[in-house]
């Protein structure tokens, strides 16, 4: 839903790093996004193509690396990977507790790397 402003941030960060590394053309960009975040690959690419058309990142392919939601039971230390819709109904598979979890991964929201010439 908010892919346009997010894509603008992505382009700005990519162009900053492109300038810093003195590259001529950005070929691809890899994003790392946790499964807890809503972000549609198709729309990101669509907006990126539109926003980047007069820049050295024009035509770059965006790859999204999804990170699973992993939680840790604070009672026994068990970690497990779960789906988003299971979050509100989990019970620890090891000790059976259900009210003290912390999130190990799933909220990632960053640009990992880019390929450039």
């Amino acid at each position: 839903m908010h892919e346009l402003p997010v894509t603008e941030h992505i382009l700005n960060i990519v162009l900053k790093h492109a300038e810093r590394n003195r590259v001529q053309r950005v070929v691809s960009i890899t994003l790392t996004i946790g499964d807890l975040s809503e972000l549609e690959n198709e729309w990101i690419q669509h907006y990126f193509d539109y926003l980047s058309k007069d820049t050295i990142a024009a035509g770059a392919k965006l790859h999204i690396e999804r990170m699973p939601i992993v939680i840790r039971c604070n009672a026994c230390g068990q970690t497990e990977s779960i789906r988003k819709d299971q979050l509100g109904q989990i019970t620890c598979s090891k000790c059976g507790k259900s009210d003290d979890f912390s999130l190990v991964s799933g909220r990632e929201y960053y640009i990992k790397e880019m390929e450039a010439q």
Binding site: M1, H2, P5, V6, H9, I10, N12, I13, V14, H17, N21, V23, Q24, V27, L31, L36, S37, E38, K84, D85, L87, G88, Q89, I90, S98, D99, D100, F101, L103, R107, Y109, Y110, I111, K112, E113, M114, E115, A116, Q117
Partner: protein, 226 residues
């Protein structure tokens, strides 16, 4: 053709927003102003809860409101009638507020003597959860007609909020909403969240919420400035 090289970036997509949000929090700590970001679906009662809260506290606290509305002034007019300072931010189709938009709102309120500022975020359970507004506390409203399964559909919002106000509690007898079920889902997502059950229509439970607001403002005033 030059060969392709791999450049590591490892930069948060929201790093700019995070910087602005932290600047806002610094400013609020200095002025001792508690700013609360109020998030919910459209129609769950953000404006009604604000009106109830303002009514109860306007004689003891200086209150300001930053209103986000996609393209109307309906809510802002209701808030203006209470006499508190308020600023309307037209988000022009945006689905959320970010820290730089809130900064405009704070600049617009232009009053360091405020004790409490409410941000009425855009009505939406998805996008506002992703963007740090610079607020000190994040509150969310869920109303009974929306159903008790919302934590399963929108978990991020429930993990982010410090306080949950369950509104329209007067509807519970005619609905299949189960408060225990809701509390069960929410406690798995967020162990520290405080939950208030209120009806902005009948006034039930509003006192407890207002007491929490009063206490939070007082605690924030006494917290050490970093």
């Amino acid at each position: 053709m030059d060969e392709i090289k791999l450049i590591e970036i490892k930069e948060d997509i929201q790093s700019d927003n995070a910087v602005v949000a932290e600047e806002l929090r610094d400013r609020l700590r200095k002025s001792r102003t508690l700013m609360i970001n109020l998030m919910s679906s459209p129609g769950s009662g953000k404006t009604s809860l604000l009106l109830r809260s303002i009514e109860a506290l306007k004689n003891e606290l200086n209150i300001g409101v930053i209103e986000a509305d996609i393209d109307s002034v309906v809510d802002s007019e209701k808030i203006a009638e209470t006499g508190v300072r308020n600023v309307q931010l037209r988000t022009g189709g945006f689905c959320h507020l970010d820290a730089s938009m809130v900064k405009k709102g704070l600049d617009g309120l232009d009053d360091p003597a405020l004790d409490l500022i409410f941000i009425e975020n855009v009505g939406n359970l998805v996008c506002p959860a992703e963007f740090d507004t610079g607020a000190i506390q994040d509150a969310m409203i869920l109303s009974i007609p929306e159903g008790d399964d919302k934590p399963l559909k929108y978990p991020l919002m429930f993990t982010k909020a410090n306080v949950l106000i369950v509104n329209k509690i007067d509807y519970i007898t005619i609905s299949d909403f189960a408060m225990d079920r809701l509390r069960g889902y929410v406690s798995r997502l967020n162990t520290d969240i405080e939950i208030f059950e209120v009806s902005c229509k009948t006034g039930e439970g509003v006192d407890q919420w207002v007491d929490w607001l009063r206490q939070s403002v007082s605690d924030f005033k006494q917290s050490p400035v970093r």
